[in-house]
Amino acid sequence: MGKETNYLLEFTFDTLLNVFNYERVPFMKKYYFCKLMNLVDTRLLKQGVDIGYPEFWYMYGPITDFAIVDGIIDHGFTNRYYPDNENVIYPAQHRRNYDIDLKDRRIIESTIQTIWSKYRFETGDNIKAENYKQNSPYKFNTTFQDFIRVVDNDNQTSTPKEVLISNLLDKLLSEFPQNDLSEIEDFYLEWDDTIRLVLDLKDSKRKMELVKVLKGKFWSTFSKGIRLRVNKNIPDEKLAMWSEEYQKAITQQYKDVERIREAIILEDSEINIEPDEYIVKSLMQTAYHIGI
């Protein structure tokens, strides 16, 4: 069976790239293109036009997979719109007749004009912020972007970084979508508790290195769960592959976080009290009896 060309999608791409970059200047990175497309697609869907744009939410917001789009655009998306594998460009050759409804065509054109007037001077990050404002899957996702920003910022801050991180951890705790992502809840709570343990370390260089490592371990896994839940027009085989990747990531990253935690507990953690032996023993006995 031959592939079906999606003319609505092709027309949207052509119009968007024509309006935003008629001169074909290589400036539009995949990141920027995907963030813009999210805004366009959101508006189109609200007006009843489904262009069948394949999209999912991942680590830094909405994104598409060009390999999937390749399959629904004549001569492939990458070949036509992404020739240098760096910039999305209005193709030199494009279709004259798209075989789409005139009504849909007008809606797409006017929507892209609106997006252009509103966002043409905005940076990719500002457009991304707009994506999150309009479509963030959960508040948790939005807050985590702040968490990433704080953790990755190596400059001095007026409020100690530990305090900022700790406050964000509390916020994340209240926003975690435990009903929808229950399969990752144990890992998440372990991760949260381990970061807090790391924040108590005295060696600030090691502390921040570990926080960065832990951030990556959780966010890459959680995002795989989000990708599975918040997506559209993604082929079933791809979804099955993502599902497998997600399960593997939970197992692996959970273990990795535990290894980091164990090393801290054995080497660095200080117990400031003399724990009641009877209580510690009771905890161990409970562990044994619920497991056996």
Partner: protein, 218 residues
């Protein structure tokens, strides 16, 4: 004198408890050479990790609620509703913390969680340092087939592999005493196992008393 330790002995030592007043601790503290197998090690790591995770999970859920609570009373109410196996311990710790401040309570409870984890981890590390884990290379299909006929494989294939591990080791390290807390699958087949393998004796953890074992042997 060589001992081969089954998974339940390692678990008993890790959590410093078992169904027979800590017999696992006696076994581990005994001066004789201790062996086990890679299969046991894998099963032990999985089981001990699951058990530790369950307790950590309860602590973590408690701490999440505590962090989202506004008062000590709210935390206590939450604990009364939740069906935690460590509920009484947590309530006790809240009292022992001697504070109404949520952060103080969390920090105090946290110390116990860390103490629990640390103790288990030290025990696991100690076990790893004193036990030689045998990695069997031979299938021993003759033994395996006899276990199939006996119905042992059908009942617990993982235990069969461990018994064969011990048999493999017993051929080089003799006499080898197999210590286990598993009555249902292993001790109940004591004679069968001793007859078909190189294992000198299967010893039920409950009855572990090496002086008696030695006297009988001589």
């Amino acid at each position: 004198m060589n001992l081969f330790l089954d998974t339940n002995v390692l678990l008993g030592y890790t959590f410093e408890t078992d169904h027979w007043n800590g017999k696992s601790l006696d076994v581990i503290s005994h001066r004789y050479v201790k062996h086990s197998s890679v299969n046991v090690s894998t099963e032990f790591e999985h089981n001990s990790q699951t058990m530790i995770r369950k307790i950590k999970g309860m602590f973590n859920r408690f701490k999440r609620e505590a962090r989202l609570s506004k008062s000590k009373k709210e935390i206590e109410s939450y604990l009364k509703i939740e069906d935690f196996e460590i509920k009484c311990i947590l309530l006790d710790l809240i009292q022992k913390s001697g504070s109404s401040n949520i952060n103080d309570i969390i920090n105090y409870v946290n110390q116990y969680q860390v103490a629990f984890e640390k103790r288990c981890l030290l025990n696991v590390n100690y076990l790893k340092s004193i036990i030689t884990f045998h990695n069997r290379k031979t299938a021993h299909t003759d033994i395996y087939d006899l276990c199939v006929l006996d119905g042992f494989v059908k009942e617990d294939p993982a235990d069969v592999e461990i018994v064969i591990d011990a048999h493999d080791l017993g051929q080089k390290t003799n006499p080898l005493y197999f210590i286990t807390g598993d009555y249902g699958h292993i001790v109940s087949r004591k004679e069968f196992i001793e007859n078909i393998t190189s294992i000198e004796k299967v010893i039920y953890l409950k009855h572990f008393d090496l002086t008696k074992v030695l006297k009988k042997r001589h």
